[in-house]
Amino acid sequence: MKNHLRPALVLFGALTLLTGVLYPALVTGIAQAAFPQAANGSLIERDGKAVGSSLIGQNFSSPRYFWGRPSATGPMPYNGANSSGSNQGPTNPALADAVKARVAALKAADPANTAAVPVDLITASASGLDPHISPEAAAYQLKRVAVARKLQIERVQALIDAHTEGRQWGLLGEPRVNVLALNMALDAER
């Protein structure tokens, strides 16, 4: 045991220094030099003020904006300092109630819309910070936003198209629309 103690302690210290100090410092240096925008949170500025991150969603509830995924973070939705999913199980009645309430809210904001609600628009994301919705979820909200803003449908459709990303490299992930970027583009229309 005794002849194990020195190597155990010294190697633990040396490897801690290497992997816990030098390694993160090296990666920080490289990332800050090569990808400063990404390494610092992909922040978006408007009029010189940080208004959000292109990677982190925000809460929208006005009919004038596209709404994002429901967020289960606490105490407020889209809390960027406390990421979380709902963790509701598939047969939990609370899940069914929450989904019904979200459907009702969407219908109340747009009573004329009789289309089926895209499932991603009424289910909570994993992180509570999902910046995206599906193109179908954007299309579902198109008319409501255009009417609320007195914009032409074609104009809003063009903005949706401009903010829709396909699968990465045509292969990975799913097509999606960045909600914050789309809403900022809407605000910039006038």
């Binding site: 990666v27 920080t28 300092a81 999913g85 199980g89 999902d130 490299w169 605000d187």
Partner: protein
């Protein structure tokens, strides 16, 4: 969507194999004490470490010496992780001023990160300072993975050597695994991730001014800061409006890289690899999935090379891959079939998007969930608690199989080789011959140790689950009603004892009861496997290596692969089907009945 599900799997396996093959050659060189040419510039650092530590690199130990050194090294890790969490409030690199972590949570996290489990009772961005994240959590991500590799290499030496009294030098194995394998891979991977948007900085959390104001309810506090209650004892709520969003920051990319490569899985943030700052793009997600299986897959090739018959490595890899493909098929089918309750509540489809991110969707989330629980990683990009009943049963079962389907770094291979010993033993019983594996006679000592290694985790899982469902403190943690609540507890114990670390995260596990229960399960699940496995390594190394003859069961063909898969599934099924019937299976039947 089914086509895409198949395409993603094929693409994944192809890229994995293309990378694991050369990495296997590299790792084999590293542990044959032949430092690869392109890494020799690190050799002076290695020698410096040995000189400071008083290690003679060419002095090897028997299995007992190896085991004592390894456990001592890991105990030091436990003390360090515990101490730093308790002290972080007064230490630097803590811009949010986060205070000391509670004693029971610190204990749990210390065991969790040392045992390569990375179960997290806490939420990262609300609990851990940057110093804690780097100086103990990132470090243990490396060292627990290095420990796993060392044990796997020691066991391989047991098969490869003949009439040897030693199985290696534990200090050399840990140092070389870190320096020549884990660190270079992590640097490359961390930089790639940060290019995709994973953050890497030491800034305080960033406040931004949101585009639209958010109104929400929170409990009203009195002047002393206590929550006000109304006449019925319910908390009084007040409406609050804010235009500030606070974005957590930190050195994430460096931790994220080794979190995947070391099959650790402990997230920097509470939402783990679902958080856009940890896993921002589908490409980052694909790379993370590759990183999880990369070292476990390449160790199969290392095994084949070191025992001098590459077909042996392919056979083990084939068995792992077949089980993996079956599991993925089951999980992704269940998630695509989805949850009829969503459709009934007004959704356009039943597709199970609850707890999933849009950029990953159902297919990439299902693939990730299968990979992370087949390996003992435990990182999540989807909330497993919200998977469909059968979709959630697959990760549970994969963990319960003992984390041998690729498994953890090192631990997957040594776990699978124990099952291989069991398989040749069963085959030997059937034909009445003394079983052999790779020319080594499998005798009563090896079988006793194999039985201990295979039975320790089911005992911990089933006894632990029984304790938790009987105890008031155990039931108090349940978040979802009915059979799903039982599944939450079964999942937690399966995850802890098999050192996975993912969770049905609705379970409130950051309590004294769960912190202690799961801490104990993690420790014994790890080291009550490692010690018997090192004992097997020592015993095998001392034996002669027999030549194969007409009566020897070949262990590189399809027959053996099926026998191996059969052994894994048989043991898993016998241990766990009754428990699974009470959780996910009941819930699935309830879901089907209610909606037809």
């Amino acid at each position: 969507m089914q086509t895409n599900a198949v395409l993603q799997l094929v693409l994944y396996l192809a890229v994995l194999l293309a990378l694991a093959w050369p990495l296997g050659a590299h790792i084999q060189k590293v542990f044959s004490d032949e430092t690869p040419r392109y890494m020799r510039w690190l050799a002076p650092l290695e020698r410096l470490f040995y000189r400071l530590a008083g290690v003679k690199a060419d002095e090897e130990a028997g299995w007992k010496g190896y085991a004592i050194g390894l456990i001592l090294f890991n105990l030091i890790g436990v003390v360090a992780v515990y101490a730093l969490q308790r002290l972080q409030g007064v230490l630097p690199f803590n811009p949010q001023g986060l205070g000391a972590v509670s004693p029971d949570s610190s204990f749990n996290t210390a065991i969790s990160f040392v045992t390569n489990t990375n179960w997290q009772g806490y939420g990262g961005e609300t609990t851990m300072s940057y110093l804690t994240q780097m100086l103990v959590l990132t470090v243990q991500n490396f060292l627990s993975a290095a420990t796993g590799i060392a044990v796997a290499i020691a066991l391989i030496r047991g098969f490869a050597r003949k009439s040897s009294a030693t199985i290696g030098n534990v200090w050399v194995d840990i140092t070389r695994a870190t320096l020549y394998v884990l660190l270079p891979l992590s640097i490359v991977f961390a930089v790639a991730l940060s290019g995709q948007g994973v953050i890497q900085n030491f800034k305080p959390y960033q406040d931004v001014h949101t585009v639209e104001a958010t109104t929400f309810q929170q409990p009203k506090l009195d002047a002393q800061g206590n929550a006000l209650k109304d006449a019925k004892g319910n908390p009084v709520l007040e409406d609050v409006t804010t235009t500030t969003q606070t974005l957590a920051q930190g050195p994430v990319a460096s931790q994220e890289a080794i979190k995947m490569i070391g099959t650790n899985g402990g997230g920097f943030f509470n939402a783990n690899s679902a958080h856009p700052y940890e896993n921002p793009t589908p490409l980052a997600n694909f790379l993370q999935m590759i990183a999880i299986f990369l070292v476990p897959a390449s160790l199969c090739f290392v095994f084949g090379r070191m025992v001098g018959d590459r077909r042996q490595g392919w056979a083990v890899l084939a068995a792992m891959t077949l089980i993996f493909v079956l599991a993925y098929g089951a999980l992704v089918s269940a998630e695509i079939a989805g949850n009829p309750a969503l459709q009934q509540a007004g959704a356009g489809s039943a597709l199970n998007m609850e707890g999933k991110e849009t950029r990953f969707g159902v297919v990439a989330s299902s693939l990730f969930a299968t990979i992370t629980t087949a390996a003992s990683c435990g990182a999540v990009n989807t909330m497993h608690d919200s998977l469909t009943p059968l979709g959630g049963m697959v990760p549970t079962l994969l963990m319960q199989l003992g984390e041998v389907v690729f498994g953890g770094v090192g631990s997957g291979l040594y776990g699978m080789l124990v099952f291989a010993i069991l398989a040749v033993f069963i085959a030997g019983l059937m034909v009445g011959r003394t079983p052999e594996y790779l020319g080594k006679k499998i005798e009563s000592f090896e079988m006793k140790m194999t039985a201990v290694a295979i039975l320790v985790t089911p005992i911990l899982v089933l006894a632990g689950t029984a304790i938790a469902v009987l105890a008031t403190a155990g039931k108090a943690g349940i978040a979802n009603p009915g059979a799903h609540g039982f599944s939450e507890i079964l999942y937690a114990l399966s995850s802890a004892a098999n050192n996975n670390g993912s969770a049905f995260a609705g379970l409130s596990a950051n309590t004294q009861f769960y912190n202690v229960l799961l801490g104990v399960a993690m420790w014994f699940g790890r080291f009550w496997m490692i010690v018997p496995i090192l004992a097997i390594a020592g015993s095998l190394a001392a034996k002669k290596r027999l030549n194969a003859n007409a009566g020897t069961l070949p262990t590189h063909g399809p027959l053996f692969v099926l026998l191996l898969i059969g052994s894994v599934l048989l043991v898993g099924a016998l241990n766990y089907i009754p428990a699974l019937a009470l959780g996910p299976i009941v819930e699935h039947l309830q879901m089907a009945v209610v909606h037809h």
